[in-house]
Symmetry: C2
């Protein structure tokens, strides 16, 4: 049943599961669980949801992804950017802290799940490619800044909000006088410690002779240490009474069965954000999964990944979570810790379920400032302005796409930012192809090769104009070629024949066909011949179905050299068999 | 002053104007004037404006185009599609028949003029290429049907309206019982006569031995004959009293000086329609101008055409007209009648000015049904469903674009129709390039050529995978290649080297560069080499500015045959000098 196995990859790896894989997976699960507990609480805070939502969003989704996903190491759950997008989308339909807010988050996860599964079943994964790499990089960088800025209020213990950088900053400035000194102390200490742990702890432990694996686990446990230390401090010194905001009561127990809101108004309001979240989450997840799979010469199937992530989001929607995707940091940790199969994810889910049942009372006194510090340290590692330098050096068009995405995301918020990025990438691509490179070519003396007359010393004939078109011809550039040929022919009075060399033309659409027909007609009116050379098989197959070839005011040559010999007085210098292309 | 002459083409042809050109131009002007009088009245009716607006829109605009335009034969004035678009746009901001309606039409012309001049000065004429030929053809066909349907009410003498086909038809059906029998008789007779004159008159006259030129003039005068005959009938039989709607009082005199409305609300409401009208008018006009210019081995400058048409529209805005463009029918008549320079247009303008002063009292009793018949006969010649058959045969994607444009224009109106057409063409283009043709190639025995293994009998080596990529690599298809390579390499365990043959790759954008870097990294992790061959100059220039070439887990070969010799055990069969590409 290969079809069934395609939709249930678990049937593939499950059959060969053995004791070695089990022990690798168990170890990885322990490390990832330790890392995920504070992270899940923190991302729920970022999404504007109660902390347990983060834990719930890491249990059922992981299990469902283990059944349907194709990546062996991807760890699914709440991630920073999707949490920010959730806060932004849900904040527009409900007030944070209300029951409606949590229900809207479930609905968002539900819509994402349905959309992803639909895309997967229709095999539309390629649509995610409309997000170009520079747009994603710019978006992630700008989101990182927005997220970090949005968490500053927790470090200060003040009220603040906003969808874009200006709103967030001005809202913080307005309430700066209400800063709680103790909260700031806790927040600053936690942030400092976490930055230090991320940058230096591993090296320090190694210098002290700690075994690699243990050093690894201790480094990952940095956030746990911060959580434990600050929670104890708040509890011991009763800092809650001094105005330090804490997580408070977290319900104890397994994820509840929940129902997303399905009113038409709510669905309509959340549809576009859900699509955006799905696409961004999918793109992130697939690139992580692909990178990890390649390291073990494995493959992932992007269309099946859509189904895996869709199932995970449906799981989140019905168990008190919110939109999830494959996270970069957690997946790398899972992979590095030796996870061999998705069973590692299942064990992680069990670990988190135990935490949800047993550990939630312990986080009662955990200060929000510590969670904010965890988020800030995590997202600032996503901020990477080097993409600006890299794209500037490589291609101005890509630079413009990055710069616009970063600026608009910061200034107008995540949704407008990413949509503008996509729109501008498409526009720039169309603009680039609208003025294709067309080289006038001549014969390299003593050979059968033709090269650009501007770059090489070549032989030409004033009666023959040969243009090599370096782009597929389609509606956006069809008229460009039309104009160019007309310009060249009206300028060069001696021209009797025009040859279009089609070696790099991969497509000729109907607009371009009509343009070529118009060119053909006009050149005929001028008494000039129009010929084609080196037309590719698929292009020729299609042209043969049109009237152009039948009415062509000239010939179609297999090789440009054939055209040269036929249309000039030059002798044929070919030896024998190797003439045709 | 070549710069000045570029912006004022009149300085170019004006210097060489002689008596021969004068007499040719005068004759053409007489013929075009005869044709334009009824046409201008009719198109004003179609636009929902008083009849004189059509005459005014043919005077100043023609003169201004003669100064700024580059086409020698283009005749500028009101045309059917632009009149329909005007009715649709202005109808949304003002009630037909009010002063506000006429002012809004002036504003539309003003905005079009400003937009066109701006596009011309910024040399953005290429943007018009986003309207693909199939979309234009579908749009013109659907507009022709909509226009004809909208005129049926005048043939019946009833009230009716609507923006799309369903609205128009249902509105006609509702009021069908109010049909005026005499109006219907006049309308049917005029329509029948005009169809006959268009199809048969010329042949009949030729059979009777009429000289060609006279036959031509008489044929063009068909509408004039219908106008004269029905006007006389209405006047002689006092049919106005029997309920036949007539043109009525038309002010006598030269075009007035008018001022477009410039309130921010009006400008905002009409901006998008003005852009649409400008672009559609420009595309129509340029293709007519280009076709006619080619017949005399002349050239037009599309960017200067924008300025010429922009000036014409500004002229219309300040002299009681409405949006204008270069018309197909009138330009062909002008050209066929022998117009040699834009002076022919100027003489036509004088002829129409004389008509505006002297002839307007004569059209008082002209029935609207005759004008409607003129419009219907003219626009039904634009309706051409053969584009559906042609595109179906040539390319399904283009067929979809035409079909969607026709359907949505008929069902939802002109603006949504053409906008959807543009959007779907862009989407389909991106879709096509998102799954590029990638051929696995092998060596043609006894040659240095490489061909698709599926189409030809070629030699391959299990350790070497050579893929020829038949498309520029950019963000939409970057991941496709990534997936494809990963799939092929994980399937073929013997593969030790991958060569990407870039002979048809015209661009590698930053996303594709990062994809190639990811592929390079992954293949390195698998112990497989990645090589490039036949990379074009401009592509290589850019790749050299990136890290890819420096970190490439393999080599860059000039010719694919070099790669073959280096990476397999095959002997180098090349004689000597002619090996490099």
């Amino acid at each position: 049943m290969p079809k069934l196995r395609q939709y249930f990859p678990i049937l593939e790896w499950g059959r060969r599961y053995d004791r070695a894989a089990l022990s690798s997976d168990l170890l990885a699960a322990v490390i990832v669980t330790i890392m995920l507990i504070p992270q899940s609480l923190a991302y729920a805070l970022l999404a504007g949801l109660p902390p347990e939502a983060g834990i719930y969003a890491s249990i059922a989704p992981i299990l469902l992804y283990a059944v349907f996903g194709t990546s062996r190491a991807l760890a699914v759950g709440p991630v920073a950017v999707v949490s920010l997008l959730t806060a932004s989308a849900v904040g527009q339909v409900a007030q944070q802290g209300t029951a409606g807010y949590a229900v809207a988050a479930l609905t968002l996860a539900f819509l994402s799940g349905v959309f992803l599964i639909l895309m997967g079943v229709l095999r539309l994964g390629f649509l995610a490619n409309f997000l170009s790499h520079p747009v994603i990089a710019g978006f992630i960088t700008a989101s990182g800044i927005l997220i970090a800025a949005s968490q500053v209020r927790h470090l200060l213990g003040i009220e603040a909000g906003g969808q874009d950088l200006a709103q967030i900053v001005s809202s913080i400035m307005r309430n700066l006088d209400q800063t709680n000194g103790i909260t700031l102390l806790i927040g600053a200490a936690a942030t400092g410690f976490l930055f230090w742990a991320r940058r230096r702890l591993r090296a320090t432990l190694a210098r002290l002779g700690t075994p690699d694996l243990l050093a690894d686990i201790l480094t990952r446990a940095g956030p746990v240490a911060a959580v434990v230390a600050t929670t104890l401090a708040v509890w011991a010194l009763d800092l809650e009474a001094r105005g330090v905001q804490i997580v408070g009561r977290v319900p104890q127990g397994l994820p509840p069965l929940t129902m997303p809101g399905l009113s038409p108004d709510l669905l309509r309001a959340l549809l576009m954000p859900a699509i955006l979240i799905s696409v961004i989450g999918f793109v992130e997840s697939v690139s992580v999964a692909q990178t990890l799979a390649a390291k073990r010469r494995q493959r992932i199937d992007p269309d099946q990944e859509l189904i895996g992530l869709g199932a995970a989001n449906l799981g989140a929607a019905f168990t008190g979570g919110y939109p999830v995707t494959g996270g970069f940091a957690r997946s790398v940790v899972n992979f590095d810790a030796g996870a061999r199969t998705p069973a590692a994810g299942a064990f992680t889910a069990i670990g988190l379920a135990v935490a949800a049942v047993a550990l939630t009372p312990l986080v009662h006194h955990l200060p929000n400032a510590t969670l904010a510090a965890t988020i800030i340290v995590a997202v600032l590692s996503l901020v990477d302005f080097s993409i600006l330098r890299k794209t500037w050096r490589y291609s101005r068009a890509d630079f413009v796409a990055v710069a616009v995405t970063i600026l608009l995301t910061l200034l107008l918020g995540v949704e407008i930012g990413v949509a503008s990025g996509v729109a501008i990438s498409v526009m720039l691509h169309l603009y680039k192809t609208s003025r294709p490179h067309v080289a006038e070519v001549g014969l390299v003396p003593g050979s059968q090769h033709f090269r650009n007359v501007l770059r090489h010393s070549v032989t030409t004939d004033p009666r023959l104009l040969t243009l090599r078109v370096d782009e597929s011809l389609y509606f956006v550039n069809a008229r460009f070629l039309e104009d160019l040929i007309q310009k060249r022919v009206t300028e060069g009075c001696a021209i009797r024949d025009v040859v279009l060399m089609f070696s790099a033309v991969n497509e000729v659409d109907f607009s371009a066909l009509e343009s070529l027909e118009a060119v053909n007609q006009r050149l005929r009116d001028m008494g000039v011949g129009l010929h084609l050379s080196e037309v590719k098989g698929p292009v020729m197959d299609r042209l043969k179905r049109s009237d152009l070839i039948r009415h062509l005011n000239g010939r179609v040559f297999l090789a440009q050299y054939d055209a040269w010999v036929a249309l000039t007085d030059a002798p044929d210098l070919r030896g024998g068999s190797d003439g045709a292309p």
